[in-house]
């Protein structure tokens, strides 16, 4: 793995960040800036999916230990966020969405972000191993390394498939939660991982269709930058077609009940409809800067991509919320297929 040379990285920075040292002298780093390093919004989704995995394991666990498991997963996710911000400061400085992050904004030095990321990684994995079990700790360690090293340092800058493969890191939390509760990771846990894994490409590519100029400017080979908008729209539709049957699968494997099946089916139809509209649209083809920094400020023709992006978040949230509600209420799963031991 080869990190781009430092001189090149500094030379590519826009004028705003060339005065980083000057800003650093004037702006003291607050504790809240360090919290921002942990990407709290990403952390909230990770916590939610991990907690769902933990509850779906249907294994009695002391509430305090369950809370520690969720805390470890949250801190591990935060640690990988800090490592990502340390390494990607040059890219972040060039994109509207990310240039206000603490490192490119000059509030926190890169070395401090690195130290925080490594420290929290070690603490979260060790505590998970000691308090719960070493399978969950191992999966957590793998997730952190996969996100910080494989995705951030390698895939993100080198291939248009970056978020497809790297999406595995974001998909693993339900399996970690399941393993933390039961000490095992059966096929049903990996089914939850597969749902998030297949959900990631349509979700991210819908976003990148209307932010691709930022990625192009930063030299990140996102799919619309490398293959063009039309190819990206086709791939979004293809992944959506693959995603919906997988989302329905838990109703057949003894994991999801009637509420889950209804949410997965009705939401899945909407998802496919929106993906179809993206396929038929001209999303990602309009040129010119966006008006402001908002994620939802889109150019004409990209509204369909924005709608899919927004609905994808809602769909995943509803799927996991349905599973969580069913298992919390003790509702029996449907088991539309004969029970298989490897699924439990």
């Amino acid at each position: 793995m080869r990190r781009p040379r430092l001189e090149g990285r500094i030379a590519r920075l826009p004028p705003m960040t060339r005065s980083t040292a000057e800003v650093r002298e004037r702006t003291p780093a607050l504790w809240s800036d360090y919290v921002q390093l942990l990407k709290p919004r990403v952390m909230s989704l990770v916590v939610f999916t991990a907690f769902t995995g933990l509850v779906c394991a249907n294994t009695p666990i002391h509430p305090f230990l369950a809370a520690i498991a969720v805390l470890c997963i949250a801190v591990g996710a935060g640690a990988s966020g800090a490592l990502n911000m340390w390494y990607d400061a040059d890219i972040d400085a060039q994109m509207r969405r990310t240039r206000g992050r603490p490192v490119p904004a000059g509030k926190i030095q890169g070395a401090d972000a690195l130290a925080l990321g490594i420290t929290l990684s070690l603490f979260s994995v060790m505590l998970m191993g000691m308090a719960l079990n070493w399978l969950a700790a191992g999966l957590l360690a793998f997730t952190i390394v996969f996100y910080a090293v494989v995705y951030t340092m390698w895939l993100k800058r080198s291939t248009a498939q970056n978020i497809v493969i790297g999406g595995l890191a974001g998909a693993l939390p339900p399996a970690i939660g399941w393993a933390a509760a039961s000490g095992t990771a059966p096929a049903n846990a990996w089914l939850l991982v597969l749902i998030i894994f297949l959900w990631t490409p349509p979700h991210f590519w819908a976003l990148s269709l209307y932010t691709s100029e930022d990625y192009a400017k930063a030299g990140v080979p996102m799919m619309p930058v490398v293959k063009g908008a039309a190819s990206t729209r086709r791939q979004i539709f293809g992944y959506s077609l693959a995603l919906i049957p997988v989302c329905l699968a838990p109703a057949f494997t003894g994991l999801g009940g009637p509420i889950y099946l209804a949410v997965a089916a009705i939401g899945g139809v909407f998802f496919l409809l929106l993906a179809w509209r993206v396929l038929r649209s001209h999303a990602g083809e309009a040129r010119g800067e966006r008006n402001d920094d908002g994620l939802y400020d889109v150019k004409a023709g990209s509204k369909d991509a924005r709608n899919l992006f927004a609905f994808s978040i809602l769909y995943l949230t509803l799927l996991f919320a349905a599973l969580l509600a069913e298992h919390a209420m003790g509702m029996s799963p449907l088991e539309l297929l004969p029970p298989l031991e490897l699924l439990r």
Partner: protein
Amino acid sequence: MSDPKSESEAFARARRGRNIAIALGLVAFVIIVFLVTVLRLGANVANRPL
């Protein structure tokens, strides 16, 4: 140009805030390890062969 005195006060305040956050984090970690030890040890003591 900002006033150097108020600037150094801002830095001192920020450093104090960071130090308090680190202290609270460490205290929380110690309490967590203690409670986890009690829980895990307690369960094993209760389940030991007599």
